[in-house]
Symmetry: C2
Subunit: 355 residues, 2 copies
């Protein structure tokens, strides 16, 4: 990989109103681009003005979906600095995804350096409002123009930046969940542990149906027995049952979330027991019926903590924490966003000051 | 959908040597393009010079893989006409795939009309050599520039054409198969019955490993029990056991191949019994050990019939039909390609003369 070149945009775009950012709708003035060619490796990293990319219609990504991506955020800290949250975890996971999808590995240090320079250049785009941040989306697509079904010999890596508001327009707020028992997101032996486009494509239909029925997100069960809980929407999921916090163990079809890891670390530092194990939806509903299900929440970069207010499985619907945001959900949300924004101590060295 | 407009290429490309076409490496002078916008439907179909497409880097297809495609072929017949093979089946399947992937339906008649006009315009690209044809690749990608995980509101449909030689450089020739029991291509409740990019992405790694070990293709087992045979590579699969032909029943995770349907129809018309049912890899190997496995072959548009010469499952390797092309495999290949090329009668009305 040669030296990063920078071509600055001649005209800067008007910034969007930070009260109505939504998620992933606006993009900054620049992007990072880097190409891979077999025999040559990754080459010519450059920061260029944000704009369309031209691909041959036979580019393999359009046909066989060889793709990986990541999602992380940059925050403006209380002291006016800029920080990333545990970017090393995202870059490590990017390479895990690459391995599963037969995409060449990327040097994490060089990519982090590129991302840092990109965010610095577009730092005026980092919004300041509560619950806002700059979402960073690195992704790699197979660009070789060929219809053979095999790993491509050419790829393009891009990093784009989007100022975002809170993932849910209402902010931290309990959501309603539909337990999906027809469609499956991922199965062991498949690609569920990788962050690759096909996993999301396969979930869209179930998500649409759940929306139509008035639910916010889908709870995914394992593909083999359709019995064990895997994830909720595009988040990992946690349950507080009888004083103990349980999250599904990484099974091969679950994405290893950075927020999941952070939540487990925080809970343990607070003296709360966290258990990673298989948990069936039957066990969960049984606990709810017995009044032992104290809290439930999803975790992910986009929403950080997303409390679950109600869940429907077949004909049965349960309320969690009286439909309110639970105590632990709130404390986790405040702690993680506090560390991210630099208003709280950072005991685990998660905050990565970049500018 | 409004009227098709045609913009002809000013400079026509040189045609490739028809002895070395390979598969999906060369593309013709034109392509069909049509856009979808929510509220407006599919609009502005046009045939334009083949060339790169420009997409916003946030186009949803790059992130969440909402995509479907088809694969069919045009042939030059003995009388110098041009024909398609059962295009109605491909267009029906395109819409089945669209439904699964939450992509808006396409009017099959209008699309067939567009494809016909495109092939007519580029008919000089239909190669004449034995085992050659013009491969037709319709595909639809989500183009809306947004990072929200949901169905897109904008799509682009394209049809590109590629003159192709035989799928395997050796022509019809028995291949070696590796029974994959770690990685999974698809699972019931997933997207295996749709022709969508993620299914192919998930298979690439297993295919690469099999190649390294000297095998040509992977035999996929069901995602739930890893016991029942589903497909081989990107083909459906048939076995002749004790005089009877067996193919895995459509389970929801198997693609309903047009060639599969044609093979069943032909075999039945020849008085050979064809059974669609679950078949386990254990049963198959048992039959081979007892000398009852007479033939095995894959079926698909690309290779038509691909005889299986050897299969390896765990430590056990079996030869099929003495490693030769079986009688039925050969007869099916000759019959289907004969109908396609117009050298044989077309009793089922499969040949679709277009020019
Ligand atoms: C499928 C899926 N599960 C879980 C997560 C949570 O991962 P993280 O906490 O790293 O954002 C994500 C990403 O946000 C995801 O896409
Ligand atoms: C996964 C898969 N199975 C089976 C087939 C065979 O289908 P068809 O005979 O319609 O080409 C294909 C496509 O070629 C395929 O991609």
């Amino acid at each position: 990989m040669n030296k990063l070149t920078i071509v600055k945009a001649e005209n800067l775009k008007a910034k969007p109103d930070s009260d109505h950012l939504g998620f992933g709708q606006y993009f900054t003035d620049h992007m990072l681009v880097m190409d891979y060619t077999e025999g040559k490796g990754w080459h010519d990293p450059s920061i260029v003005p944000y704009g369309p990319i031209a691909l041959d219609p036979s580019a393999m990504v359009f046909h066989y979906g060889q793709e990986v991506f990541e999602g992380m955020k940059a925050y403006k800290t209380a002291e006016g600095q800029f920080s990333l949250f545990r970017p090393d975890m995202n870059l490590k996971r990017l390479n895990i995804s690459c391995e599963r999808m037969s995409i060449p590995q990327v040097d994490p240090e060089l990519l982090l350096d590129g991302i840092t320079q990109l965010v610095s250049l577009d730092k005026d785009w980092i919004p300041e409002g509560e619950d806002t941040s700059l979402y960073i989306r690195p992704f790699i697509i197979a660009t070789e123009p060929c219809l053979g079904v095999r790993a491509a010999k050419q790829y393009k890596l891009l990093v784009i930046l989007s100022p975002v508001g809170s993932y849910y327009p209402e902010g931290i707020h309990p959501v309603s969940i539909f337990v999906e028992d027809e469609y499956v997101r991922a199965v062991r032996g498949g690609t569920g542990m990788a962050k690759t486009s096909g996993n999301y494509a396969s979930g869209i239909r179930a998500q649409e149906i759940a929306k139509l029925e008035g639910f916010s997100q889908v709870l995914w069960l394992d593909g083999v027995e359709k019995k064990y809980i895997e994830e909720v929407g595009s988040m990992n999921v946690f349950f507080k049952i009888g004083g103990e916090v349980i999250t599904p163990e990484l099974s091969g079809s679950i994405l290893a979330g950075v927020t999941r890891d952070s939540v487990m670390t925080l809970l343990r530092s607070w003296g709360i027991q966290v258990i990673e194990r298989k948990i069936s939806v039957a066990e969960l509903f049984e606990a709810a019926r017995e009044g032992k299900l104290e809290e439930a929440f999803g975790t992910g970069t986009a929403a950080v903590i997303s409390p679950i207010g109600t869940m429907k499985w077949g004909e049965e619907q349960i309320a969690v924490a009286g439909g309110q945001t639970g105590e632990i959900s709130k404390k986790l949300y405040d702690s993680i966003t506090g560390i991210q924004k630099g208003v709280l101590e950072d005991p685990f060295g998660w905050r990565n000051i970049i500018v």
